[in-house]
Amino acid sequence: MAGAGVKNLDPLWAWQPYRPSTEAPWNLPRVGHLYRRAAFGATYAELQAGLKAGPEALLDQLLKGGPGLAEFDAQMASLAQSIARYNDATHLRAWWLARMLHSPHPLQEKITLFWHNHFATSYAKVQSARFMLGQYELLRRHALGRFSELLRAMSSDPAMLIWLDGRDSKKGNPNENYARELMELFSLGIGHYTEKDVREAARAFTGWEIQGTKAVFNAQQHDDGVKTVLGQTGNWNADDIVRICLEQKSAAPFLVAKLYRFFISETAAPSPELLAPLAQQFRNSDYDFGALVKTMLASNLFFSSHAYRTRIKAPVDFVLNIVRGLEGAIGATALAQSLEQLGQNLFSPPSVKGWDGGKSWLNGQTLLFRQNLALALTSTEDARFGRRCDPAALARKYHKETDAELVDFFLHLFLQGDVAAQTRMRLLHYQQQAHKLPAPVYWTQQDSADQRVRSLCHLVLTLPEFQLD
């Protein structure tokens, strides 16, 4: 995948819509790339169909979502009721993972995950599945809408009021927790406000309480005196502070840079010049996030070498890429539990800054957990997953039989064939000589053949390339 030098990227070129060309053809690696970033991976059939459809049609489909969303949402909502009713954190996590796996609109879930990482709120402190679900619904409702509206609504979100202590913040004795993170992490970034701004803004957020299952504004506890925040003086309330923050020059570039890291690259920090056109578009559209997402995903830059395999797969992507690829009919509960070991326990980010992501996903232990989970999913021998995710069954479905067909099938499915020739040769050699390796006497020929396919699939999933997003 060719592209201009990292330093000298032309912003005009970068953000123009990608059109296939001889240098940058629409090929399987690009289809896989789009499915990884804008969804949670693809099946073999989806990859082939995407290749036929072309970039515009495929992106359009991913942006709009498929049919049946309302029905899907209704089904999931009824499950959510019992999760809230019984404060069931285990199934809360499984519920969202099931949404990611089965929603007709995976991009919406992916962006909701982006926002969960942005407004990183943890069940560990909130201790209420009902409130965590409420915040999830808020994030999803605004996922591809206006960031300004989402940020305003967040001031009185019950989970957030518990997480950052807003419910305890009272006139005369404000709690600074929310005001600080609003500026540092949610809207402006460090260095674009002062400690005095934090302390003054904290006064404006006083008065919110939780009564029963609702956030309620108690005017008695609200400090309605005059505050000076980011240079503006008045008797500001929560909405005013959000407005003032979003009037700052640093707000749009801060959010755009964060989305850049999510969609384009974790490896090279973008220059302000590169981001400027998007920041301007974002600000001028009253923070229309959906439009920003669309511009990025459609762009030349997105489909260039600057974006391709320049992220480490997040644990959620790692597991869902496998399960989607294998078309596994798998229960989400065990899968959601395994995410904790991999370092991305949904609804429980490690801190209000969210998951650091990038290289920090991979250390000795998490890499081993990933490889061992890939084995558990593909071996059919793990009690958690059983035979519901069987590579041998999938290969039969697509009529892949010879050693070479099988090697190429799994390499295409998971890596779109983009590995060193030597890697392919090694796998093929393994597959060929595996016929000669001794097997338990009680195995039939079919048993042995299936076992070889499962091992081959596991080996493909352990390739370093598969850790890249």
Partner: protein, 412 residues
């Protein structure tokens, strides 16, 4: 050097291509020989450093308490610890009542308390301030940590990040010549394979390990390969360590207790381990601080005390140094939610057979506050400098970028 250690280092270094199969030993031996500190230095005999991060900002004022200061009671109307409650250090200072184990360590002359530690222009962001402590630099966008840099001077010294599930490896360890492995438990630090036979298993392992061999290319693929090689090599070696470690003292059944027990086990295994990093928290007590803070300090005190007793009983009393730090202390005056907001200066604890016991430096004034926060008089890099030069035997000036006078944390 024990055989165990030699094998471990060889395996780790071979894994990342630092040594070749044939030529490895001499290079590795010469590098290590150069790094051994001179015999008259404190770091001469394979000293061990255990760093405990108190994540979230520990309330230093309620950890080492100036219980007789009338200002203290005014600043902490609901959160104060009374003279009857604290574990007295002297007639002015006391430890939080939950630090019973630390009081014992103080009796045993192995606990040092550095008071009023911080840095100029304190930053009140958790994340920025944590970066400052972990990189030992006030500059932004520093990609290497102080311990990672120290490991450049201790090439191949086995080091471990003992982690919980939701925890990434710390910036403090970045920049090490060999990536420091993060480990949850020994049982889980293994590559599992399903194979038709032993021969099949070997074939699979060969494929996995050869794919992880880096050819030094650019970018993320190389990073993944190096991480993987190092991990496979370490895990193979660690599999041979006995699973049934019998501690000399009981450990509390807490996550921190489990991680420090694993540290003791790895120390005792004779790998030559020099550095451990563990995190404990969350100390971000903006509201209803008292029960949370008491619980966290109890866990800290019990785990560290058990660890030190265990390791001392095994004869490592003078080889081990435990250091605690937090990204900042908390606001002197409590807030309206029976909690405390972000502050600055706070104490650090150092535990070991060679530390100077008791408090070092004055408790920061409770009347001369800086924007409502305690003022520091000791830069944390003075503590780091003493540890780097005198304990680990590496040049603090190279790592910190300047000379810092040593905090008086060791017996002279």
């Amino acid at each position: 050097m024990t055989a165990n250690r030699r094998d471990f280092l060889k395996a780790s270094l071979a894994g990342v291509g630092l040594i070749g199969a044939g030529s490895g030993a001499p290079l590795f031996l010469s590098r290590t020989a150069a790094a051994v500190p001179a015999a008259d230095k404190a770091g001469a005999k394979d000293t061990i450093l255990v760093v405990i991060e108190l994540t979230g900002g520990n309330d230093g004022l309620n950890t080492v308490v100036p219980f007789n200061d009338p200002e203290y009671a005014k600043l902490r109307p609901t959160l104060r610890q009374t003279p009857a409650q604290v574990k007295k250090i002297n007639d002015q200072l006391g430890l939080h009542p939950s630090l019973a184990g630390f009081a014992e360590l103080l009796q045993d002359n192995v606990l040092c308390i550095v008071q009023g530690v911080g840095y100029p222009n304190p930053n009140q962001s958790h994340f920025r301030s944590m970066d400052i402590w972990q990189t030992a630099s006030l500059n932004e966008n520093v990609s290497e940590g102080w311990l990672g840099k120290a490991l450049k001077g201790l090439p191949g010294a086995p080091s471990f990040h003992l982690k919980s599930n939701n925890e990434a490896s710390p910036l403090a360890l970045e920049g090490a010549p060999v990536r420091v492995p993060s480990i949850a438990t020994l049982e889980e630090f293994q590559l599992q394979l399903a194979a038709a036979s032993g021969a099949d298993k070997k074939e699979q392992r060969d494929i996995i390990e050869s794919a992880a061999r880096s050819n030094g290319g650019p970018g993320l693929l190389d990073f993944v390969q190096r991480t993987a090689s190092n991990t496979y090599a370490s895990s193979r070696r660690l599999q041979e360590i006995g699973k049934n470690y019998q501690p000399q003292t009981p450990y509390p059944n807490t996550p921190l207790g489990g991680r420090l027990k694993l540290a003791a086990q790895l120390i005792d295994a004779g790998l030559g381990a020099r550095l451990f990093y563990v995190a404990h928290g969350n100390f971000d007590t903006h509201a209803t601080q008292a029960p949370t803070h008491a619980r966290l300090l109890t866990q800290l005190s019990q785990a560290v005390t058990a660890f030190f007793k265990d390791i001392a009983a095994r004869g490592h009393r003078d080889r081990v140094l435990v250091m605690t730090f937090s990204e900042f202390g908390r606001r002197a005056k409590e807030n309206g939610s029976r909690g405390t907001d972000h502050g600055s200066a706070a104490p650090m604890f150092l535990i070991g057979g060679k530390v100077k016991p008791g408090p070092v430096g004055e408790h920061p004034s409770l009347t001369q506050l800086e924007f409502g926060n305690l003022k520091h008089h000791t830069d944390f890099r003075q503590v780091y400098a003493a540890i780097l030069d005198r304990w680990l035997g590496v040049s603090s000036k190279d790592i910190l970028g300047a000379e810092f006078s040593h905090a008086a944390i060791f017996k002279s």
